[in-house]
């Protein structure tokens, strides 16, 4: 472990960055070490950069120098006079950075290259270095090679060759330098003097999607609030359109005269930027709005967005889309799902989705209704493909029930009448379930469904915490023999029992037959 950066006190104590931690501890036993975290440093630098926008909108990150320092560029062209000149900007910046707890070295020059050199080689803390306009050439002699932003290898080689200052480099024939070091050295030199332009690419500020509206007179009628909301939504949606984004979550805050606020939040199932869609979601929640003494301020914020491609609203008219046509955008459906979820709660509007499992209760999962990964192939194609790839067992027509009980329920088999032998092919004469007696007239089976021994036990919600069933279905014990049976009234059931050898192993108190589903 090596030291990445040290504070002035440690430097004073004789510890420098690059020293190994054990050596540093030997030098300075009281040293307190904290793990270096470049990610946090970068985030902090980003915040400082955002703060720099108080001086100029044209600010960019130079990067971490790996020794605990970091650089920022500020293009103060045309901004300095707002603060009373360059010196005043420097003074203010230095003072404020100091107050914020940052040590800073500031340099000002005509070109970024020269400013970098001034900040790194000429300035010291509390002593900004300013290079006057057009003075780069005269300054060459006083800037060491390290002021040129060269790669460490190049810098070392140059130093070894006796090249000490930038002026020394400028005196050398350019062709030879380029042959020896590539274009880097000459480029940096030209950037220093300003012969080559070096643009800064500032990180543009991301303006949050916020719209507000203040009223000269407090409003109280819901219609007025709705009208205000519609206007704000329109404004925000235009901005979203420009950025090719759609809203996922919005919050509307209504500030009353008596300094209280009402917050209404909505969410959508997919990115949306139709003002009327969003407005209808809000209107659901505006019903019981209490305006109190009146609302004087409305603030609308988009709190989450997703990318959304621009639609060609100008080419295809929405009205021409046939309603119910599968190729239509499904916008109405999206709106419906959003409204339903808005009122019923999340996770209430779902689609069943087939899952690759042969175990009945695991064969279907629920996904949000607007998840777009719908199978493209028609079901029959899909079935063929599944068979080909062995993804899902092909199920024989009519072999699965319409209703599957969330949890298999134990049923009590009816004893066979002594005078009538159980007909062949009939697993049991009848059974009792939920206080009803069902005598079988026909049966088909068994269909053996083995457990997924490679998976853990069933999720608790399916097994319902029933201890006996839980142990039954855990790991390898879930081999089940299913029967489709029909009773006298024509009702059809899906029963299963454990394979017989297994039943003997499990305690005798365990119910032998379970009802798992109801057929049509």
């Amino acid at each position: 472990m090596r030291l990445a950066a040290v504070n002035p006190a440690a430097r004073y104590g004789g510890v420098d960055p690059g020293l190994s931690l054990s050596d540093a501890r030997a030098v300075l036993p009281a040293l307190k070490a904290i793990d270096a975290d470049a990610e946090t440093d970068r985030a902090c630098l980003g915040k400082v950069l955002a703060w720099m926008r108080r001086y100029t909108p044209w600010a960019a990150i130079d990067g971490l120098d790996g020794r605990g320092g970091a650089g920022l560029w500020l293009d103060i062209t045309g901004c300095a006079h707002l603060f009373g000149g360059e010196a005043a900007v420097l003074g203010d910046l230095s003072y404020r950075l100091d107050k914020l707890g940052f040590a800073s070295c500031l340099g000002v020059a005509d070109t970024p290259g020269a400013a970098w050199a001034m900040a790194h080689c000429r300035a010291s803390e509390h002593m900004p270095a300013v290079l006057d306009t057009g003075a780069q050439r005269g300054e060459l002699e006083r800037i060491p090679v390290s002021g040129l932003r060269l790669a460490p290898r190049t810098r070392e080689t140059l130093t070894r060759l006796g090249v000490r200052t930038v002026a020394d480099i400028a005196a050398l024939p350019r062709a030879q330098i380029t042959r020896r070091f590539g274009s880097e050295v000459c480029l940096r030199l030209d950037q220093f003097t300003g012969r080559v332009d070096e643009p800064l690419s500032p990180e543009m500020e991301r303006v949050p999607y916020v719209a507000r509206m203040a009223f000269p007179e407090p409003i109280g009628r819901t219609e007025d609030v709705e009208a205000a909301l519609q206007r704000l939504l329109k404004r925000l949606c235009e901005r979203l359109e420009k950025d090719r984004r759609g809203a996922r979550r919005l919050a509307c805050e209504l500030f009353r005269v008596d300094n209280t606020a009402e917050r209404i939040a909505i969410g959508t199932g997919q990115a949306v930027r139709q003002p009327d869609h969003l407005f209808r979601l809000f209107r659901e929640k505006l019903d019981g709005l209490d305006a109190g003494f009146g609302i004087e301020f409305v603030l609308l914020t988009v709190t989450a967005t997703d990318p959304l491609a621009q639609d060609q609203a100008g080419l295809v008219r929405v009205a021409e889309e046939k309603p119910g046509d599968k190729n239509s955008t499904g916008r109405e459906l999206a709106l419906l799902v959003d409204r339903l979820e808005g009122r019923l709660g999340a996770g209430r509007v779902v689609r069943p989705r087939r899952q690759a499992s042969h175990i009945p209760e695991r064969a279907v999962g629920l996904v949000p209704a607007l998840s777009k990964s719908k199978l493209v192939a028609s079901p029959s194609d899909q079935r063929e493909r599944n068979v080909l790839h062995g993804e899902i067992d092909p199920l024989r027509a009519g072999s699965r029930p319409l209703h599957l009980l969330p949890k298999p329920e134990p049923v009590a088999p009816v004893d066979a009448l002594p005078e009538i032998a159980l007909p062949r092919g009939m697993p049991l004469p009848g059974f009792e379930w939920r206080h009803g007696l069902y005598r079988l007239t026909a049966a088909e089976g068994p269909e053996r469904i083995a457990g997924a021994w490679w998976r853990g036990p069933l999720p608790p919600d399916r097994s319902g915490g029933d201890e006996s069933y839980f142990t039954l279905c855990a790991d390898g014990g879930a081999v089940r023999d299913y029967w489709r049976v029909e009773c006298e009234t024509g009702a059809r059931f899906w029963l299963f029992h454990l394979p017989f050898p297994l039943q003997r192993e499990i305690t005798s108190s365990l119910p032998r037959w379970f009802l798992h589903g109801l057929f049509a």
């Binding site: 209703h403 005598r439 059809r492 049509a520």
Partner: protein
């Protein structure tokens, strides 16, 4: 008895006025034939009219809160409409609400991918969701599962929503209920019947007792139909003639016969 022409005319006028009151003056442009000629001919529209409300009731005592036969009839009918859009199934959150099983539904012709389940907290919410769904043109069918009979006003409201959105609605009521006045265009009662055992051992085709309880501008009738799993359609069952009353004896006898042969 001879009815004079002006009386016939007056009757016609009265009929059209009644129809106007019932909101059925527009002709049902979209009709879904059920695929059984006898049923389609009995329905005055030549099939099940779309864009309106139908009421389907279970004939038997509900098995654990569901009526599989009635549900299957609705699912099979909705499955034939899936090319027009998605099918929404609104469930009041009572015990078997989540028990609707995807593979079983797709065997009735209604694929999971075309199905949206709405899991409401109670019947009021389910009905609200149903009304919203009926007004949505992107949906083909909205099914609402009821726990009790609806008031005439509620049913009428749903019927109007269906007319507005052009979506077909099914009210699915598991338990048997008294035939009350309702705003639905048709009312069906579906119960399961003992199937005819096939020549080989096992189960025959599921057999339902389908009763058209009420039908606007039409008559009521009942049929015995069979669901064919392979072709996924309904067909009229062959009349019951060779099935004695005691099924246990039949199978017993059949087994004995086979044993002799």
């Amino acid at each position: 008895m001879h009815i004079s022409s002006d009386k016939t005319e007056a009757l016609e006028q009265l009929r059209s006025r009644v129809q106007a009151i019932e909101g059925l003056t527009r002709d049902f442009g979209d009709i879904l034939p059920l695929g059984v000629a006898d049923i389609d001919q009995t329905l005055p529209w030549g099939g099940l009219p779309l864009g309106c409300l139908h009421h389907v009731v279970g004939a038997d005592e509900a098995l654990g809160g569901v009526a599989p036969a009635a549900g299957a009839f609705v699912a099979a009918t909705a499955g034939r409409l899936k090319s027009r859009g998605d099918v929404m199934w609104c469930l009041p959150r009572y015990k078997p609400a989540d028990s609707l099983y995807g593979p079983g539904l797709s065997m009735l012709g209604l694929d999971e991918d075309d199905l949206i389940l709405v899991r409401a907290r109670d019947e009021t919410e389910a009905l609200w969701a149903m009304e919203e769904g009926l007004a949505c043109a992107d949906l083909a069918v909205v099914v609402g599962v009821l726990t009790s009979s609806l008031s005439l006003t509620a049913e009428r409201r749903l019927q109007l929503a269906a007319e507005r959105g052009g979506t077909t609605g099914f009210l699915l009521q598991p338990g048997p209920s008294a035939a009350t006045a309702g705003a639905a265009v048709t009312r069906w009662r579906v119960g399961s019947m003992p199937s005819v055992p096939p020549a080989w051992s096992g189960l025959g085709r599921p057999r339902w007792h389908l009763t058209l309880d009420r039908c606007r501008q039409g008559t009521t009738r009942s049929w015995i139909v069979e669901w064919c799993d392979e072709t996924r359609d309904l067909r009229l069952a062959a009349p019951l003639c060779d099935r004695p009353a005691d099924p246990v004896a039949v199978t017993h006898g059949g087994a004995a016969l086979r044993a002799v042969a």
